[in-house]
């Protein structure tokens, strides 16, 4: 594996050494950050190093999941994992692609607001002025 040279999980002799629980979690997270996309637990196990048991990887991933540092989703019969920060970015990109390619989405996904014409914008600014909390705190009579 090409990462073996820089793998912090091995000492200079390339021999596996014992690592603390926190160190392992950090390492698993960094593996997930390097991953090309959502990956399986066995992929993580492979990347972290040969001496780590699959169940240990699963335990670490579950703990990270509880801390919301990673997210998982179902891919077929297995779960795939990714770092939480990446998940938000990935989701944002997917959402944007959806919004950009589906001009008629507003009938399906209820949007908060729709586009304004210049006239609407003008009107809205004057309405907004009326809606701003008045500085004196006196309530304006709603006499329209």
């Amino acid at each position: 594996m090409e990462l073996a040279g820089v793998d912090p999980g091995r000492d200079e002799g390339g021999r596996p050494r014992r690592r603390g629980q926190g160190e392992l979690a950090t390492e698993v997270l960094s593996v997930l950050h390097r991953a090309p996309g959502p990956v399986t637990a066995s992929w993580v196990q492979e990347q972290v190093g040969g001496d780590l048991a699959y169940t240990t990887v699963m335990t670490i991933l579950s703990r990270l999941l509880a801390k919301q540092a990673v997210v998982r989703s179902r891919a077929g019969r297995a779960y795939v994992w990714s770092a939480a920060a990446d998940a938000a970015g990935l989701t944002a990109r997917r959402m944007r692609r959806l919004l950009d390619t589906e001009p008629d989405r507003d009938a399906v996904l209820a949007s908060f607001v729709t586009a304004l014409t210049p006239e609407d914008e003008q009107l809205l600014r004057s309405l907004l002025n009326a809606a701003e909390p008045s500085p004196g705190g006196g309530s304006r009579g709603d006499g329209r």
């Binding site: 997210v71 998982r72 399906v108 809205l124 709603d142």
Partner: protein, 315 residues
């Protein structure tokens, strides 16, 4: 059958007055429910009428797959101007069914894509609630995504442009869409307008009324109409530029967002139905009568054709 079969095709015109008056005279919840029911019933009747005319129309097509007896001269003469009408109905029904299925497929596709996009996001521990998904995006947007658990998707740009109270109003608005299943009404109205173009104004009115409904619920939930108005206005002002190009109709009347803000700045509309003698009450009754006549006509025509087909069938 006679002329009765044509009534369901034109009676959706009776829904135009209420579609126009609902905005100012009905509570948005009542408006959404009434207009959706009228739209769906009229659309079903209109499709049924078109289907009956289709049967007559296919009689002219040599080698059509329907039973031979269905092209009996008696059936054909049951409809006035059966040749022109029949051909039009064949084209019409095919067009309608294609438009409906395209619309439905698009609806399902967009929903599925949105849900797939949001799937990796676990329920957030944010204080605003587990159904909220805030996405890092410089483009301001906010959507309610219906589904198993409905999600509210808001971009960071939208969140940043509103203060904390306004954010609460926005979330309450989107949650109202989810809780009241507004997407079902929107889909029903959209399919109805595919079936009969006369129902298009009704679709627009339903779309606007669902937004008003959510606005009213948001105002009730944050307890401040003016704050909700401000949230809508602010969000719209940062959103400008995106979305579909405005139409020329916008010259005459203000668009939906200024109308929503104006409505929120005015006193709330009561939930009571307008009195029957008022314009809105009359319009509602005209539409209800139109719906009833259209249902009766469609049924009448269906039974008439059924009897004719039965008489013409040799067994």
């Amino acid at each position: 059958m006679g002329f009765f079969v044509f009534l369901p095709l034109v009676l959706p015109l009776t829904s135009l007055p209420i579609a126009r008056l609902a905005e100012h005279h009905l509570h948005p919840r009542n408006a959404v429910r009434l207009l959706s029911w009228i739209g769906v019933t009229m659309a079903v009747c209109s499709t049924l009428a078109l289907g009956l005319l289709f049967v007559v129309g296919t009689a002219q097509i040599p080698g059509n797959p329907l039973p031979d007896s269905w092209s009996d001269p008696e059936i054909r003469t049951a409809v006035p101007f059966h040749e022109a009408v029949g051909t039009t109905a064949v084209v019409g029904l095919v067009t309608v069914l294609t438009a409906c299925s395209r619309s439905l497929r698009r609806h399902l596709r967009i929903r599925a894509r949105a849900q797939r996009a949001l799937a990796p996001m676990s329920p957030s521990p944010a204080p605003q609630g587990p159904d909220l998904v805030v996405l890092p995006d410089p483009e301001p947007y906010a959507y309610a995504v219906p589904g198993g658990p409905g999600r509210v998707v808001v971009s960071t740009a939208m969140m940043d442009s509103l203060d904390a109270d306004e954010q609460r109003a926005l979330l309450a608005h989107e949650r109202s869409h989810l809780a009241n299943r507004h997407h079902r009404y929107l889909l029903a109205a959209q399919l109805a307008s595919c079936v009969n173009p006369f129902l298009r104004p009704l679709q627009k009115a339903v779309g606007y009324a669902t937004e008003r409904w959510a606005d009213e619920e948001a105002a009730g939930s944050v307890g401040d109409r003016r704050l909700t108005a401000r949230a809508v206005a602010r969000a719209a002002l940062v959103t400008r530029g995106g979305g579909p190009a405005p139409s020329f109709a916008a010259f005459a009347a203000p668009g939906p967002v200024p109308r929503r803000v104006t409505a929120l700045l005015s006193p709330a509309l009561g939930e009571a139905w307008p009195p029957p003698a008022s314009p809105a009450g009359l319009a509602a009754m005209v539409a209800a009568a139109g719906t009833a006549v259209s249902a009766v006509s469609a049924l009448n025509a269906a039974v008439a054709l059924l009897l004719l087909v039965k008489a013409a069938t040799p067994w």
